[in-house]
Amino acid sequence: MDKNIKKVILLGSGALKIGEAGEFDYSGSQALKALKEEGVYTVLINPNIATIQTSENIADRVYFLPVTPEYVEQVIEREKPDGILLAFGGQTALNCGVQLYKNGTLEKYGVQVLGTPVQAIIDTEDREKFVEKLDEIDVKTIKSEAVTSVSEAKRVAAQLGYPIIIRAAYTLGGLGSGFCDNEAELETLASKAFTYSPQILVEKSLKGWKEVEYEVVRDRYDNCITVCNMENFDPLGIHTGESIVVAPSQTLTNAEYHKLRQLAIKIIRHVGIVGECNVQYALDPNSEDYRVIEVNARLSRSSALASKATGYPLAFVAAKLGLGYGLHELKNSVTKSTTACFEPALDYIVCKIPRWDLGKFKGVSRELGSSMKSVGEVMAIGRNFEEAIQKGLRMIGQGMHGFVANKELAVEDIDGALSHPTDKRIFIIANALKGGYSVDRIHELTKIDKWFLYKLRNIIDIEHKLETFSQVEQVPDSLMLEAKQRGFSDFQIARMVLHPAPARMEECIKQVREYRKSRGITPYIKQIDTLAAEYPAQTNYLYVTYNATEHDIDFPQDGKSVIVLGSGAYRIGSSVEFDWCSVNAANTIRQNGYRSIMINYNPETVSTDYDTCDRLYFDELTLERVLDITDLEVPMGVVVSTGGQIPNNLAMRLQQEHVPILGTSAEDIDRAEDRHKFSSMCDELGIDQPRWRELTTMDDIYKFVDEVGFPVLIRPSYVLSGAAMNVVSNRGELEHFLTLATSVSKQHPVVVTEFIENAKEIEIDAVAKDGEVLIYAISEHVEFAGVHSGDATMVFPPQKMYVETMRRIKKISRQVAQGLHISGPFNMQVMAKNNEIKVIECNLRASRSFPFVSKVLKVNFIEIATQVMLGLPVEIPHKSAFELDYVGIKAPQFSFSRLQKTDPVLGVEMSSTGEVGCIGDDFHEAILKAMVSVGYAIPKKNVLLSTGDSRSKADMISAAQALQAKGYKLYATKGTADFLFHNGVSAEVLHWPDSDMKPNTLDYIKEKKIDLVINIPKNLSETELNNDYTIRRSAIDFNIPLITNARLAAAFIHAFCRLDKQDIKIKSWNEY
């Protein structure tokens, strides 16, 4: 290795967003570990405070700063590193690195780019250069033409013939790209793509071809390996992030596999990658013809998946190669004896399934296409495809039980739903097969390879066989085993044989389980060892299968192991923060002499890195699977409170099966989860709550609303369409929502809660032992209550809170901790108005903000909580938030630009996909860093204001005055301009989008004459004015920063008006 490299900067990927999620925490953490092993001093820049990589003992120094050239340059200036790694922080880091290279920063400070040279990155990122580069070695690419205008695009499309696909250069996850079947579609899409990039590419569409990827590694000696190939279940036309993917490829012959493999090696050599890259191909389903779709010269989502699919630590190896090692000089980290210069041989199949959360967004199209909308993914491992996909469909956690035995999906036009894929297509295929569609017909409509469809039909065949029985005992052992081998859960078998009513379901599942166990039908544990058992491996990377007759491992059952249940797929409301909690719980377990066992199935996480625990079960978090594992492991206990809601929901049922739950008892967890039980406890303790009722008739609802007054929060238990929760401000809206979007009945009660306007929302994150609070952190939201806590901007320690409020909250926390006998982590959300405190919610588990408060306070809450749960003596750090002479701010990251047509407005349903946490000497500095980290730029000149109702308008006055004083040019819609004028602020009027009058808001946005849009919705109801929606949506589509909350807007404006560039301190975490 290169001994001159002593200090290295690694760029992280910032907040999680669609197209860039937790996989980069995994890649970055691995790279940092590899550098550390070589004694290299590491400096990490990443504002994502909830990640593992930004924890103690990973990097030597951490900067919670935006990954932008401006900030990175300042860190370089300060740290004077020898080298920089650009490939481990996704497109964010790559783009930032390219800019630093182009503007001469890297040269100026003599920073060497380790691994793949920047020119190679540029060659792969710019489509035209990329095609030229591959032409040089006669590798076929999709011929496309780069154009810079819509008319040119039309001309090229006419030449190529429709359908065509257009792509914007230099964008994330296919942003600004899509298919066009005709000129009209092209016109719309092309004009939008030009807002993302000055250059778009028009190319012939290869819809229906197979999509295959290879992960390729090259060292400086020109040695190359392909670590994994993957085949998309969904053929070309659906973004690979939106596709179900299997590894290794299943329908490729030796000739096809090795042709593409060889091309991948040829490409990586020609481009000159040192480290890892990914090559995506289109493969003709009727010949060996192919096209290279793209090359990613960095670690990617696919490479994280490939690492988990094979056990080969791609990021770790890539970092070592960046330091100058050869592949043959590194060891296989699984076997520890064989070399890293090899290609893993799998003896299982993995299946990745995306997780969508489209239901959380208003107005979004559910159709899948060439841009990515999914927010997470799962990986399932099996020894046949049926087993893997059924596991996977349960793992995505959207109420499905596998491929079959699900809630009936009402589809009118099956043909249409098959040929126009949505997030539900796999289940439409189940419907079609059940409805008698032939494999050929489904293939015709979907172009999905028949091999996959035959396998899916096998599942239906088994379902039919099971349905011929009505008693579990009648099912022959051979069929029971076959069903289990093809991935059927006890639930599915129970439903198909016993058809129980919902109330009897649990009992019937248990009956199936008991019966099959009595017949000796139980699963086996197999290892993932990278070499298909060819060499002995001490691997702790495990999965569960029924396609086996022997366990690969022994189970000591000595009471010294502790199971941590992970958090499952990333989704809105649960992402990397729970991974941080799970990993920290596992670490603490290990440090205290116990063996940690992790169960999780999310390939984008650090918790599913087999290095983080003593045993990793990469498998389902269903009751059935957890019991399978506890039956074998007989652990001392199970931790259910660090993985978010999924494990939390299992607590009660695990306890009923006599699995020891560590920490707070399952009954007490239930008392917090169950609305009625929690309320009566609060009443007993004299703790106030917003008034609420669970109601089943419209009359009762009206009566209750008369009592509490509008607005009210409505939470239906059955949702027809749209978001599940809503705030309504008048009777009209109430009726509209309850009749159109949901139904009210005895079976489907509705919870109605009084909604207190203009109240502060406050969170308490704490750890208690035997009901005594050991440590706590109180944070306040910048926004008023009504914005989901996951979308709110959080300040810790609070800067604007009455001491009296604080005192009362502490008291309530103590009461609740005692009342629920809490031993472990908990989180409470409260509302405060005029020192009156009302409890909104209490969760007896770690919350989204645990990593944030732990890192700001520099006290690891999860470590303490885990020690409590293990029954160990705990040393309580005497540290109080009052002593902090700095401020932490957690800000949400939204991905609205990827979700076409969605209204980018905040409400009671969460819609952010990630977050950052930044630290500053004061509130202004911290919020500025945080806002820039989530993509806001400080406006140069022009700000457009349209500030909603009078309350918001009033909130905004001082901010508008500050803008004016600072010399900004203000534009406003009519009402806002008038209001501002009366308050001494002059703003030029821009007319509403639907008006013909000029100057018009829409033109100004389209022409990018505006640098910041503040648009505050008039009220929180559905009946938003169309005009406001148009302004907001255009701001997103034209890439102009948008703020829709008055209090946040004011805070941001005051911050950038008050602080100059030099006021922003470049300080690492440990300097605070």
């Binding site: 040695n223 329908t251 090696i265 043959h328 070399t339 210069c341 090899f342 041989a345 020894r383 494999v439």
Partner: protein
């Protein structure tokens, strides 16, 4: 799914694995070996080196893309998609068989093909468990018994037979009309060796394993792969010695590597469970160049037994076994792996170019 007929794999150590049959209705005995490749069964099954062996595939999903047609490539006169004219394995053992296949080039299913060739096959067994047994105890004999077909009483050891004689051609045969004449000593040669040579301006004269080719006029000698114990091929070794005396380039592959080594005075030994797969890393000795190779062998050369005229050419990066040798001054070299691939990675095909460069050099 059709009616399931049971089948059993019995290992020499007594372990039994119960599964279902998807091949011929026949029971057989042979040596049980495992291969860790994830694709390429039409090629592997027709590889003569597997002669006498019951093949366990560690990759569980098999049969997915069916079996290609038997059509002949008019340019080479060889089947386009297979490595010989028949299936050579004794029986096939897999975890999960795909009764339905899907591929544009498939003309029949794997099960049908095996049945046509009279080869029994089992699915539904824990192939990982079998692999671990072989890994721990070494390759062992075994029997495959299909329901309704009487099992062979004794375990037969194919290594005691002259497998090479059984799979080699019986008459010399010529391919191509290229500039250089290459004698290919067929010890059980994979067709892709011939294809690789023909792509390099050669006329290939394929001769039987025991043929004295010293009388022929040629520019180079290619020693092919083949099954079984190299010590069975004493005749071939003698012929190789004659060729070495002649001094023209010699290139050996797999069994050819072992035979060249024996001719050079080295010894061979049986590996515990061999190397069979597509992911074996070989380092070119004295360089930083490593290649991923396709392998299929149960015996290896003991490099320590080489005299000073010879040196190691490649070494296995996983277990340091010999992956090839070369003469220090003469144009003789050989590799234990398969540069012709098929199935497997083609990274080492450049060795044919090296060989041809030597051939061209000596033909001057």
């Amino acid at each position: 799914m059709s009616e399931r007929k049971t089948a059993i794999l019995v290992l020499e150590d007594g372990t039994q694995f119960k599964g279902f049959s998807f091949g011929a209705d026949r029971s057989v005995s042979g040596e049980v070996v495992f291969n860790t490749a994830m694709m390429g069964y039409p090629e592997s099954l027709t590889d003569p080196s597997y002669s006498g062996q019951i093949l366990v595939l560690t990759y569980p999903l098999v049969g997915n893309y069916g079996v290609p047609p038997t059509e002949t490539d008019p340019e080479t006169g060889l089947p386009r998609f297979f490595e010989s004219d028949r299936i050579h394995i004794k029986a096939l053992v897999v975890a999960d068989y795909s009764f339905e296949h899907s591929h544009w080039n498939a003309v029949r299913s794997l099960g049908e093909w095996l049945s046509e060739h009279g080869v029994p096959a089992i699915y539904g067994v824990d192939t990982r468990q079998i692999t671990k047994i072989i890994r721990e105890k070494g390759v062992m004999l075994g029997k495959v018994a299909v329901e309704g077909c009487p099992a062979p009483e004794a375990f037969t050891d194919p290594n005691k037979e002259n497998l090479v004689a059984a799979v080699s051609c019986t008459e010399p045969q010529s391919y191509g009309r290229g500039k250089y004449r290459i004698v290919l000593v067929d010890c059980g040669c994979k067709y892709n060796i011939i294809r690789c040579l023909l792509r390099r301006d050669t006329t290939v004269v394929r001769v039987p394993w025991d043929y004295d080719f010293s009388t022929l006029d040629y520019d180079g000698v290619m020693l092919s792969n083949g099954p079984g114990d190299p010590q069975m091929c004493a005749v071939t070794v003698e012929n190789i010695k004659k060729a070495m005396a002649k001094g023209k380039p010699v290139f050996g592959i797999c069994l050819g590597n072992q035979l060249l080594s024996i001719a050079a005075g080295a010894t061979t030994y049986k590996l515990k469970y061999g190397h069979r797969g597509h992911n074996q890393p070989a380092l070119m000795v004295g360089t930083d160049t490593a290649v991923i190779t396709s392998q299929n062998h149960g015996f290896a050369v003991d490099t320590r037994s080489l005299n000073e005229e010879w040196e190691p050419l490649f070494v296995n990066l996983n277990d340091n076994t010999s992956e090839g040798i070369r003469h220090r001054s003469k144009p003789f070299f050989s590799v234990q792996f398969h540069p012709e691939a098929t199935s497997g990675p083609v990274d080492s095909e450049f060795l044919f170019d090296r060989f041809m460069a030597q051939v061209a050099e000596y033909a001057k």
